[in-house]
Symmetry: C2
Subunit: 684 residues, 2 copies
C-alpha cells in the first residue's frame, strides 16, 4: 500500500519560507495600521482637540492588547498547527455551539475584511487623486469585482508578486516615520494641512468622557484585525512549521507596533485634525466639496511635501497592501467553508477540493455581500469599522478561552504529546521536532492565554457597548442567522446519516433483469445507447418509443427496419402527449407481472462544451429521468454522447484554488487525459 500521498521533498518546495510567508499572511494585520490610528484619533477629537492628550495612552493600551494577542496566538500555533485557527480551538475545547459562534463571526469577519480594506484603499487613492472623490462607491465596488474576477480565474495567494506591496508598505511607512521624527528632533517638525483647523466639539459629562475614551480605544483596536491570519496558515510554512510560524507572528507583531506607534506619533506631531463629518472642521471652507484626506496621506504630505514622488509612493503602497488584505479574505472564506463542510456544518460539496465551481460560489457570495455593504454604507470607512471589530473580537475571545480550556486539560493529563493531533492535522503535517512541553511551559501558556482571553473579552464588551447603536447591531443579527443555518445543516446530515445506516435487517432481493432503451428519433446517440444495452446482455431487452405524434412514430418504424435493428421496438401511446407517464405505467405493469425485477432504462446524455449549451439540451431527458428514478425497481443508465463542442473541456488548465496555499497544498499537476483522442468517435 502506498502510504504517503505526496513525496515530502516535493511538498517542501511548494511551501513558504518566512520571508515570503510574512508579507503574504501579514498583509491583512499590517494593512490595518493604515486606518487604526486615524479612527483612534478621530473619535478622541469628537470631544475636542484637548482630548488628543489622551491619545498616547489609548495608543499604548492598543499596543499592550496587540502584544497580548500576539503572545496568545503564539501558544495557539503551537497547540493547533493544523490551520483550523480559532474555529478549531473553540469547537474542540468549548463544544459545538462555541465553535459555530466563532465560525459565524469569522464568516462575517471575512466579508468585513474585504469591505473595510477596499473602503480604506479607495479612501487612500482618493487622498492622492481627489478628482476621483465623486466615484468613491463605484471605485470600491469595481475593486471588489476585480478581486472576485482574479480569484474566479484562479491566482495563487503565495505568488511572489504578492510579497512586493507588503514590503513596500512596511519600508515606505518606516522611512516616513524616521524622516518625520528626525525632522522633529531637528526642530523642523512637519505640519499637516489640517493643523490650523479646530474641531467642533461636544461638551461631555464625566461618563461621556470615559465612554469617548473607550470608543477611541475600541476603534484603535481595529489595528488588531487579521492577527489570527498566521495561525490559519501554519500548514503552508516550511519545516519547522511551528517555530517558523511563531517567529513570523512575532516579527509581524513587532512591525505592526512600530508602524502603529510611529504613525500615531507623527499624526500628533504634525497635528492632523480629522473629523467624521469634515464640516465639523472649523476653518475649512471646502469641506462640502473636497474630500478629507486620510491620516496617512496628511502625514505623508506633511513629511515629504505634497505632490512629491514619495507621497505618491506611500499612497500607492497603502492602497496596494489594503487590496492585498482584501484578497486574503477571498482565500480564507472558501478555506473556512471547507473546514466547516468537513465537520458537517456546511454543504459537503464545499469540502471537496478541485471543483472550481464550488469555490466560485464562495467567491461570488463574498463579493456580492461585500458590494452590498459597500453600497449601503456608501464606502464610509468610519461606519464600516464599527461593524468590523465585533466579529474579530468574538473569535479572539472564544479562541483564547478555548486555549485556556486546552491547557487546563493538558495539565490534567500531562503525559500527552505536545501538539494535539486533530483529525485534520494530516493536511498540514505538524512539526514533530518541537520539544516536549513541560508543566512549567503549560502554566506559562495558560497564563498568557488567560490574560489574552480576559483582555479580549473586556474589549469585546467595550466594543459592543460603544458600537452597538453605531451599526454593530447588524452583526448581531447576521451572526445568529448564520449560526442557525449551520446548526440546521448539521442536524440534517445527522438525520440522513441515520436514515441510510446499514442495520442487520438490511436486505435487498431483486431478481430478474430487463432493459429498456428509450427511443425518440433515429439518431446516433440513440443507436449508441442501444449498442451499449446489447453489449450488457440483459436477460431481456426492448426498445420503447412513446408515440406523441403519429407521423414521427411512422418514420421511426421505417428507420428501424432500414437500419436492420433486431431489437423489438415497442410503441407506447400517449393520450395526453406526456412522455414519462405511459413509460412509467408500462414499467409498473411489467413489475406487477415479473415481481421484484430490476428495469434498466438506457437514455442518451449529451455532453457539451459550453455552459450555455446545457440550457439547450437534456431538459426533457432530465425530467423523464427524475420521474423514472421515483419508480420502484428502475435504474437509469446514462449513455454519454459527446458533442463536438465537448472537446473544449479537455483544454482547461489547472489553476490554483482560493485557500490552497494556506493549507500548504501544492497545485496538483493534473496529468493530461487524452480522452478526446480515444473518445467515443473511434467507437463509431
Amino acid at each position: 500500500m502506498i502510504g504517503d500521498p505526496l513525496p515530502t521533498e516535493k511538498l517542501e518546495g511548494e511551501l513558504l519560507p518566512k520571508h515570503l510567508a510574512l508579507p503574504i499572511f501579514a498583509s491583512d494585520p499590517l494593512s490595518s495600521v493604515a486606518y487604526a490610528p486615524q479612527e483612534l484619533l478621530m473619535i478622541l477629537m469628537v470631544g475636542g482637540l484637548a482630548f488628543l492628550s489622551f491619545a498616547p495612552w489609548v495608543a499604548v493600551a492598543v499596543i499592550v492588547l496587540l502584544v497580548t494577542v500576539v503572545a496568545s496566538y503564539r501558544q495557539l500555533i503551537r497547540a493547533y498547527p493544523s490551520g483550523g485557527g480559532d474555529y478549531e480551538v473553540a469547537h474542540r475545547n468549548l463544544g459545538e455551539k462555541a465553535g459555530l459562534v466563532v465560525a459565524s463571526s469569522l464568516l462575517v469577519d471575512y466579508v468585513m475584511t474585504v469591505v473595510v480594506s477596499v473602503a480604506s484603499g479607495v479612501d487612500n487613492i482618493i487622498s492622492a487623486i481627489p478628482e476621483l472623490n465623486p466615484f468613491r462607491v463605484e471605485l470600491a465596488v469595481v475593486f471588489v469585482i476585480i478581486l472576485a474576477a482574479v480569484n474566479l480565474r484562479g491566482v495563487s495567494e503565495s505568488s511572489r508578486a504578492f510579497a512586493v506591496p507588503t514590503y513596500l508598505f512596511i519600508a515606505s511607512v518606516f522611512v516616513m516615520i524616521v524622516v518625520g521624527l528626525t525632522r522633529t528632533f531637528l526642530g523642523d517638525a512637519p505640519v499637516s494641512e489640517s493643523a490650523g483647523f479646530v474641531v467642533e466639539s461636544e461638551s461631555l459629562t464625566q461618563a461621556g468622557i470615559i465612554l469617548l475614551l473607550l470608543r477611541s480605544f475600541a476603534s484603535g483596536c481595529s489595528a488588531l484585525t487579521g492577527v489570527e491570519a498566521i495561525s490559519n496558515g501554519v500548514p503552508a510554512f516550511r519545516q519547522p512549521k511551528i517555530r517558523n510560524a511563531q517567529a513570523t507572528l512575532v516579527l509581524m507583531g513587532g512591525i505592526a507596533i512600530v508602524l502603529f506607534a510611529g504613525l500615531t506619533a507623527l499624526a500628533l506631531i504634525s497635528q492632523v485634525h480629522y473629523a467624521e463629518d469634515p464640516c465639523h472642521l472649523i476653518g475649512w471652507a471646502e469641506c462640502a466639496t473636497e474630500p478629507q484626506r486620510s491620516l496617512i496621506a496628511q502625514v505623508a504630505s506633511a513629511t515629504f511635501g505634497d505632490d512629491t514622488a514619495l507621497f505618491y509612493l506611500i499612497q500607492a503602497a497603502t492602497a496596494l497592501v489594503l487590496l492585498l488584505a482584501a484578497n486574503t479574505a477571498f482565500n480564507g472564506f472558501p478555506l473556512l467553508g471547507s473546514v466547516l463542510a468537513q465537520d458537517g456544518y456546511a454543504p459537503k460539496s464545499l469540502s471537496t477540493r478541485g471543483d472550481r465551481l464550488i469555490y466560485s460560489n464562495g467567491v461570488l457570495i463574498l463579493a456580492l455581500a461585500a458590494s452590498v455593504i459597500l453600497v449601503v454604507f456608501q464606502a464610509n470607512l468610519t461606519v464600516l469599522i464599527q461593524l468590523y471589530i465585533i466579529g474579530v473580537f468574538v473569535s479572539f475571545t472564544l479562541g483564547q478561552t478555548g486555549m485556556v480550556r486546552h491547557w487546563l486539560r493538558e495539565l490534567r493529563s500531562p503525559r500527552k504529546p505536545t501538539s494535539s493531533k486533530s483529525p485534520r492535522s494530516s493536511r498540514g503535517d505538524a512539526d514533530d521536532r518541537s520539544a516536549p512541553i513541560t508543566r512549567g511551559a503549560i502554566w506559562r501558556a495558560l497564563a498568557i492565554n488567560a490574560i489574552g482571553a480576559a483582555m479580549t473579552a473586556v474589549v469585546l464588551i467595550v466594543v459592543t457597548v460603544t458600537k452597538f447603536t453605531h451599526g454593530a447591531w447588524i452583526v448581531f443579527v447576521m451572526m445568529p442567522i448564520l449560526f442557525t443555518l449551520m446548526l440546521g445543516v448539521h442536524r440534517y446530515y445527522r438525520d440522513v446519516e441515520k436514515e441510510i445506516e446499514v442495520d442487520p435487517t438490511t436486505t435487498f432481493g431483486s431478481a430478474g433483469d430487463h432493459a429498456i432503451v428509450l427511443v425518440g428519433r433515429m439518431q446516433k446517440p440513440t443507436l449508441k445507447a442501444l449498442d451499449y444495452a446489447i453489449a450488457a446482455r440483459h436477460d431481456s431487452l426492448e426498445a420503447v418509443h412513446v408515440s406523441l405524434y403519429e407521423e414521427e412514430t411512422k418514420r421511426l418504424k421505417k428507420d428501424w427496419v432500414k437500419q436492420n435493428i433486431h431489437v423489438k421496438l415497442r410503441i407506447l401511446n400517449s393520450p395526453y402527449r406526456d412522455l414519462s407517464y405511459p413509460l412509467i405505467q408500462y414499467i409498473k405493469s411489467r413489475r406487477e407481472e415479473h415481481g421484484s425485477e430490476v428495469v434498466t432504462v438506457y437514455m442518451p446524455q449529451y455532453i457539451v462544451g459550453h455552459w450555455w449549451e446545457s440550457l439547450l439540451h437534456n431538459h426533457k431527458a432530465r425530467r423523464i429521468r427524475q420521474k423514472l428514478l421515483l419508480v420502484h425497481g428502475v435504474t437509469v443508465s446514462l449513455v454519454p454522447w459527446l458533442l463536438d463542442s465537448s472537446d473544449l473541456i479537455y483544454g482547461r488548465r489547472s489553476r490554483p484554488l482560493p485557500g490552497q496555499d494556506r493549507r500548504g497544498e501544492p497545485v496538483r499537476p493534473v496529468p493530461r487525459r487524452p480522452i478526446s483522442s480515444d473518445g467515443q468517435k473511434r467507437g463509431r
Copy 2:
C-alpha cells in the same frame, strides 16, 4: 391504435363561449382605452389649448386605423386559426427573418404591456387615492410581483372571475359616457377640475405643427395595442372557432371605438387640460406636490362628482381591467416561447408542456424586466407609451404584409382549402365547417390586408420618427439582440441535428460487459446499488472503493466481511485524494486489456423532497458522474435512493400553466400515482 388524444366533447366543455372569450381576450385592447385618449390630447396641448380643435380629427384617424386593423385581423383569424398570430403569419409567408423580427417585437411587446398597464393602473389608483402618490413606483413594482406570484402559483386565465372586471369597465365607462353626453345635451355639460388651467405652449413652425399632429396620432395609436390578442386565442374558442373568434373581434373593436370616441369627446367637453409636466399647467399652484389626475378620473369626477361611489367604481374598474391586461402578458409570454421553441428558435425545453419550472423562468424574466423598466422610468406612463407602440406596430405591419403574401399565393393556387393546416393546427383543431373561400373573397381579403399593411406601415414610420429620441431607441437596441439570440439558437440546433444524424456508416460494435459498483461507505444506498448490479447479471461485476483515508478503507473492508458480501471489493489508491482520477485510470486500463468493452458504473442517487436539500447532496456524485461520462465505453447507472423527505413530491397538485387557455388545452387530470406506497421501502 387510439387515434384521438382527447374526446372532443370533453375538450368542448373546457373551451370558451363568446361571452367569456370577449372579456378574457379583450381586457388588453379595451384597457388601452384608459390611456390612449389622455396621451392623444396631452401631446396636442403641447402646442397650446387651441390645438384641441384638431383632437376630433386625430381621434377619427385613430378610429379609422382601428377599424382597418380589426378588419385585417378578421382575415388573419380565418387564414391562421392555429393561434400562432403575427409570428406565424410572418414566418410562413415572409420567411424566417421576418418571423423573428415579429417574435422579438412581440417579446418586447409583452414586457411593455405589463409595464404600461401596471403604470396606468397605478396612475388611476393614485387618481382616486392621491395619498398614495409618493409610492407610485413601489406600488407598480408590488403589482408586478403580485401578478408574477399569482402566475407562478398557477391560475387559469379563463377563470370566470376574470370576466367581471372587463364587463364592469365596459359598463361603467359606457354609463359615464351616456350620462356625460346627456348632461351636455341638457345644457349642463360637465366641467373638469383642470378646465380653468391654461397650458404653457411652445411656439411651433409649420413643420412643428405637422410633427405635433403626427406625434399626437402616434400616441393615440396606443388604443390599438392588444387587438392581436384574439387572433392568438382562436384555439380556445368553441366551435365554430373561426366564426366565433371573428365575431368576438368585431364586437371588441366596436366597444373599443365607442369607449375611445366617447372618452375623447367627454374630455373635450369637460375641458380636461392635461400636461406631461403638471407644472406647465398655468393656474395650478399645487402642481409640484399633488398628483395630476388621469383623464379618465377627471372625466369621471366631472360627470359623477368627486368622492361619489360611481367615481370610485370607474377608477376601480379601470385599475382592475389594466391589471388584468398585464396578466394576459404573463399568459402570452410563455405561449410565444413554446411556439418559438417548436420552431427551434428558443431552448426546446420551452416547448414541453407541463414543466412548471420552465414557465416559472418565463414568468420571472417577464416580471424582472418589467420591474426594471418601471423603476428606471419611474412608472411614468407618457414615457413608457413611447416604448410600447413601436413593437406593436412592427408586428402589425409584418403580420399584415404576410397576409398579403398569403392571399397572393392563394390566388395563384386557388384549389387549396381555406384554412391552411399548419403543423401546429393539431393543437387548436381548426374549424372545418367554414365555407370554402371564393376568388372574390380572396381579393376582398387581400385588399383589406393590403390597406392594413400600408396604414400600419405608415404609422410605424410616424411612430419611429416621432418617438425615436423620446426613448423608442431602446426598443431598437433590444429587438436586434433578441433577434440575434433566436437566430443563434436556431443555427445551434441545426448544427447539432446534423452532427447526430444517422448515416449509412453509423455502426457501433461494443463487446464485453463489465459492471462496477462504486462504494464509499457501507450504507443502504450502496447496498441497493449492489443489489441492482447483481440482479442485472453482468458478465463480470466488482465493487470498487477509492481509498482517500486509510481508516475509512479499513472500516469498509471490515463491514464488507461483516455483511457477508460475495462481490470482490477492489481498492484503488488515490495519491492525490481525488475520487474520479484513479477510477478513470482503472477503467481505461481495463479497456486496454479487454477492448471495446462496455463498463457500467453503478452509483446511488439521492432523491430528495425539498429544493434546498439538493444543495446538500449528490455534488460529489454528480462531479464523478460528469467525469466518468467523458470516458470511452462507460455508462453510468443511477440507482435511486428515496430519502424520507421525497414523500413530499407526490403530494403536488396539477395547476394550470400560463398560456394554457389560449391553446385551448384543458387542464389534464393527472391520475394519482401512488408510487410512495409501493416505493423502495417495501423493497428493503
